[in-house]
Symmetry: D3
Subunit: 336 residues, 6 copies
């Protein structure tokens, strides 16, 4: 069983039922989620050994968070207990023209107060096949950035494949460093990058070349020139007609060629959150199966498509269900 | 008040709320349903004397099942108590490209262990105007097939109209008989057949004639040639774009002519299950009102269309509400 | 803080969860709503001093109703306690071709049994900037009509702007007076009218002029000719494809010019009720901000568009959220 | 199967979940209940032919009410549709020192506006074995009192046994008649009376004789002297320590002897409403089984005891479960 | 209408349904509560002008908190918006031997980061009749303590009565000051003190005098000797048999005499939280009505008794309901 | 981390909310439970390596069952997938005199159709410290009995401590063998036995010796004489006043001495199911900590006491919380 290690904050997610706004709610549905753990939930559900590394406070919310990750099939043996509080976020499910609105209540969470040596990366990564991180982690605190750097050193030494969703978020990065100075050495140790022009412009200061025919190809090429570690850049192209109706296409640039999937028309979206994480999980899954790029991005895109029909952050669909989509069975005919 | 008798298994249906998958659920919504009883629920709601004949275990799930059928307006006086367990099925509501997924837990249910003489068909059918069965019943067990055959003999003797939804399901038929040998004499005593090419091919071994202009007309004609009892074959034509978006048309072949309805565009489907049963109920209703074929199939199709907007297996819409649809009032304007 | 006063009945609204019909429900969601209070809820949420004037019975439903209005931010200081019962209405949420169905249980409510002098309008309207009423109030009882007339006299004396949603409902008007005789003097004291050809035909006996190019312009012009007090007629144009899918445009006729908004395509409607009230609230808000007509109707229409995505009668969206729509940000992209 | 006919209003009952007060609630649990129908629900659940006679409006709440009665096993064939509205009542579940608080919203309900000839009592009572009424019905309106009188005439003619729970409620009786003048002829045609000193004092103007050793015996003896039709007076003795803790004993006076049950200590009461109705149903059941008085009152008291453990108005316990209590099995040991 | 001003933090309270532990929960009930606001909710419900002063972040949780306070009838006009986050606490409802367990997530909340001049106390207290604070506020931060001191200065100048629940909590007081040095000048400006030996020992370093007959009288006398401002010390005596069963008595020492209430036996407790706040609110209410000490403490104790039967932090019972308890009507007989 | 292995069926448990009967329910709460897995859930929550061995069908209910066990902290690595269906049971929560009623729907479950070699006991038990089984398993089928015998052989060979809850249930044992012939060799390989006179009489044909002073001591002595493997017999003494009120004492006979705990008065029981399993888990925990018998039985009894306050089958209380009870802290005072 291949072992994937992800690293990042997991927060309690609090969501009013249905399309309620928080001011209307007398109860909130809860689960525990984070961009990195969502990827690992998918991979664990697909019967790989998905390990998530994070830190929880040693109190009832922290214990409930661990139980949830276990419920999702995640291997929690490397999780540290400590710190004062669990980060939280409130989600108001959007619909139609009204966007899903997220209110974070993140600092000073148990994860953001980790330090360089909080985790024993040698032990954790000993027999790992893949490591996944996102740009949210180094944006939280110097300690989180340091800890991530330590992990990536071990990955490099052990030849572990690394994927990174650089995911620039302007309302993080409050501890005095710029995204560029922190992310540059981290990306330089990563092999598969999820990124968009918005990310490269804000982090590395470049966008698509003028007159570029294809924005994604342009920024991907530049990224791969800048960072020789990168073997592929992947991205989804999302045309957003409303909170309930999107069009979705997967893309990969491998340095030579643009691989694309069919475009899916996504009407009556159940939940938008976590679809990007399912996409990444799908690509990692394909690569771990040694599928070629086209099969990998097809699986990734189908996983993302399916995730739009599932409530919560986690895909909770099997490999077989995803493969039905890649085979073109999107008619939703009742399965008995 | 006309009396309709239906015969078949009723199971507890367990459904996670909303679009949850079973693995996410901490509670399940319950009701009691079966393809035949769903037809009778509709007819009872339309103020006919709908009697459903089945067998329940004499325990709390069995008693709850009877209470539910009564709630739906069904006459339960002919239901037998006995056997060990109530059949169950789990439904995960699909959405978008994800199909509704049903997990059956059916055997050895109280119904499947009935025998030829479990029911006193002479008494039950004494003053009946219509009898309805589906191909699920004889697929369950020899006893169920025998009991159905006994009922059809009485129908023949009493000149009771018989409708049958032949409904071939490959994962049933496990007791050693082929669908063909069992179904042939049963269909030979039925007057209105719901069927598709999939059914005729798997049961009777024939599909549409080569080069046939219209598949439905072709298989219907052949059915009527083979079984002189059949006076009409009805079918819905469902174009399935996703679990949430279908297009739907009703068809009847009466041996001479193809009767069709307008095609309805069904977006934002609430529930797909039970729509075929509402369709059949609508056609039976029209025939019992002595409406002509076009009015009957229009009503049937409108009933099916409305059912897509109602949660659960039962239509719970009045004759007047169905007729609003046949009049073309599909705009959904608020009714005060 | 500008002060808006609205006047009308507030009832308990009882709604089965999701798309359930009442016969399926074992619980009902409750809130308290009325066409006029819905307008004031929106304006209170937009940080104006919205006062609603009504009458509640002095029992637990009445006290719960006040608590709900306060929760919505409404100033309840002028509400009277008295009478025997709180009016009620049951809502079955429609979907697809099935309309939302409302069953009223309104008489003899505490509000409908008010009399001319129940409220001290001089005190209530002392420092008011705007007064809003609808045609439902004078349709309920002579006492309600008299009380409204008393309020409008004070408005005239104090130069308070008056808006009216004439809102003809044929199943009201049971106390022996015709809509025309009652409404004529009331409209004659109002400045902004929400109305449609259906309203003018049933109340004042005229529709669009023959050969009129634009029905709305024609009936608006006639209204303004008939009532010199009217400075603007506003209306939404709703093309209703199903209960789940509408197209929506805002219109104003100011006596000289037709002001229109872009047309919004509203797919996957969450709730249709209260969208007209949000529309009116939006227009009043714009006028109170001294915005020009185009900005006012754009804001009104955007408010109505957003309201379609929110459960219940109240908009619960901020000015900033509405303005995102007027800026064209209708893509529903996640807001973090 | 013996046939029991009950007559009286059935209302929608709206209850906040748990121990919430109405002002805290955002949803209300609903069911349909009335003192007389509660008795018949119990008897129907005990496999007798329990028919309830009432009148419902022909709208969605009325149809839901019928479905609920059917769910409870009641024969609804004699129910009339008509009138304007369904009566309602709100229940706040009490606990500890806080009483359960009921707010009625009853008038002008479909039932209260019945008239003398609304029901065809000859047909309804044709083959009846028992008739049950309460003092609530004649307290509602002259028409309800007249209709009840008409039913009792037919009972007398047909020798049908009649039970009556005289149940004096001071906040009814608003139509201009006194309880005494109306109830006297009705009680004079009844055979089993449920009554207390509070009832006799307020209705007939007498309480226990001075110095009477036993209040119940004294008022019962006087009642039987006054009304020769009465064969037994029954009553429960409830010592109420709090809303959650009662002590409960059953009593019968048959004109000669006082029959009593053991006293049950009822801690941790789940629901107090409907326990008196279960008590009466139990006594009627015993009498219909031709049990002697002691067995009947033992069964009645055990039924009332069990009902305290069930949510809602209906007992939903089988004859066997009640008999476990009469056998002394009150230890609540898990039944597998 | 008398004006009461309370000051303190209000947090979102998150509670699993029923007796669930957090690890079992998939949804949490929410409301907004704080020891001081709970007092003011009670007084507002009793139709006084209860104003609560606090600070909320200007985000969706902050706006929902205001809406909740308004729902409770509280005047929110003096609440400031600002700071980063809303404090939270998780409650696991205890039962039997298992205590209710609270997990706080309080720092760095919008309230705890207030400063001396955040509130304009002269304006707020201009026409106030009473001011209430607890020992939680000065325990949170220097800024909170300073702000409270500023309020008390204005109270002294304006002769506003001041009550204080000193409420020592050892897990607060983390900003470097001792409870004694901070609380001494604050208590010195307060008139009614709620306190226990646990409080005086931890804050002021003294317990009951050796050999004291009555611990409460001893510590109260010492408190009144130390602080001449104090006119009464009040306290409840709670004998705690389990989380579900307490015995409860109210006490006042006015410097000369011990006033006590009857002892209430509280079985089947619904909710323990907020009962102490209802007790204080009751005493303040009595004093504002100019009731004598016995009537005030009787009302206070009855309010606390009733609160044990209501879910959540707020009493939601009327003055009349509390007075039923003081009259001895604790039998919980159904109120129709 | 010590490793405990338990072996037995895990079923889906379906429970109506609150005190509802199944006939009242429209939703059922679900979880997955079995007498043996409940023990292991407790031990896993207490931070031991609790492994449960069972068999689930490879369908959605089976996968949900695994996720639930993981959520409880159980090591699921040895669970087999196979068979046709997941066993089920319906629970109606009792209250007062009404017992909790369980309806099983168990056969032919995936577990009951296991065979002798379904599990690789050598691998599973390789490094185990304790093995736990109950008399339910060998009662289900010959295959289950054989598989258990195979496990016990390995335990004997590896010197693994074995506990057994013999738990005689008369409605099992349907496959043609008597409890005595099957259980004798199994008990002969077990070291800690949970048993009562009811068990010994039905299984081994002996009860307490005539004139025995203490029934438990008598049957325990006889058991230990008969089976030299047994080192201790443990049992709880439950005096059952009602479903809501029990008295509970723990006992151990070690061959020489009777060890007893204090008697706990359990009022307002939340849930009775699973309390015996918590008791056994507590005793195993104490033994694994090398506590003496008194400390072990005290901990066991405290665990059982606490479990009565928690919904569901699993204790979800920490070692520290249990130890609070053993220290006598049963007052339920709020823990902040």
């Amino acid at each position: 069983m291949q072992k994937i290690v992800s690293f990042g904050e997991v927060m309690m997610r609090l969501t009013p039922p249905g399309n309620q706004r928080l001011i209307q709610a007398t109860s909130l549905n809860i689960l525990f989620a984070g961009a990195e753990a969502n990827v690992t939930s998918a991979l664990s559900g697909w019967k790989l050994n998905g390990c998530h590394v994070t830190r929880f406070p040693d109190n009832t919310p922290g214990l409930a968070a661990i139980a949830w990750l276990k419920h999702c099939g995640i291997n929690t043996e490397y999780i540290q207990m400590g710190g004062d509080r669990l980060g939280l976020f409130f989600v108001e499910n959007g619909a139609m023209a009204r966007p899903t609105a997220i209110t974070y209540d993140r600092l000073p969470s148990a994860f953001s107060t980790i330090e360089k040596n909080t985790f024993d990366w040698n032990a954790i990564l000993d027999d790992a096949d893949w490591f996944h991180w996102t740009g949210i982690t180094p944006a939280l605190s110097q300690g989180a950035a340091d800890s991530l750097a330590a992990a990536l050193s071990v990955c490099e030494r052990n030849n572990i494949k690394v994927s990174a969703d650089v995911n620039y978020r302007s309302n993080l990065w409050k501890y005095g460093k710029t995204p560029g100075e922190i992310l540059e050495p981290l990306v330089a140790r990563s092999n598969v990058i999820v990124g968009s022009e918005n990310d490269t412009r804000n982090i590395f200061g470049f966008g698509a070349e003028q007159g570029a025919e294809n924005v994604f190809v342009s920024i991907s090429s530049q990224l791969m020139k800048k960072f020789s570690s990168i073997k592929a850049v992947i991205s989804s192209n999302r045309e957003q007609r409303s909170a309930s109706h999107n069009r979705f296409t997967g893309n990969v640039w491998d340095g030579q060629q643009l691989w694309q999937t069919k475009t899916y028309d996504l009407e009556q979206i159940v939940e938008r959150i976590g679809t990007g994480d399912a996409f990444i999980a799908g690509y990692i899954y394909g690569q771990l199966q040694n599928w070629d790029i086209q099969d990998s991005i097809d699986f990734a895109t189908a996983a993302a498509v399916l995730k739009h029909s599932v409530e919560g952050d986690v895909i909770f669909c099997s490999v077989e269900e995803v493969q039905e989509i890649t085979k073109g069975n999107t008619s939703g005919r009742i399965k008995r």
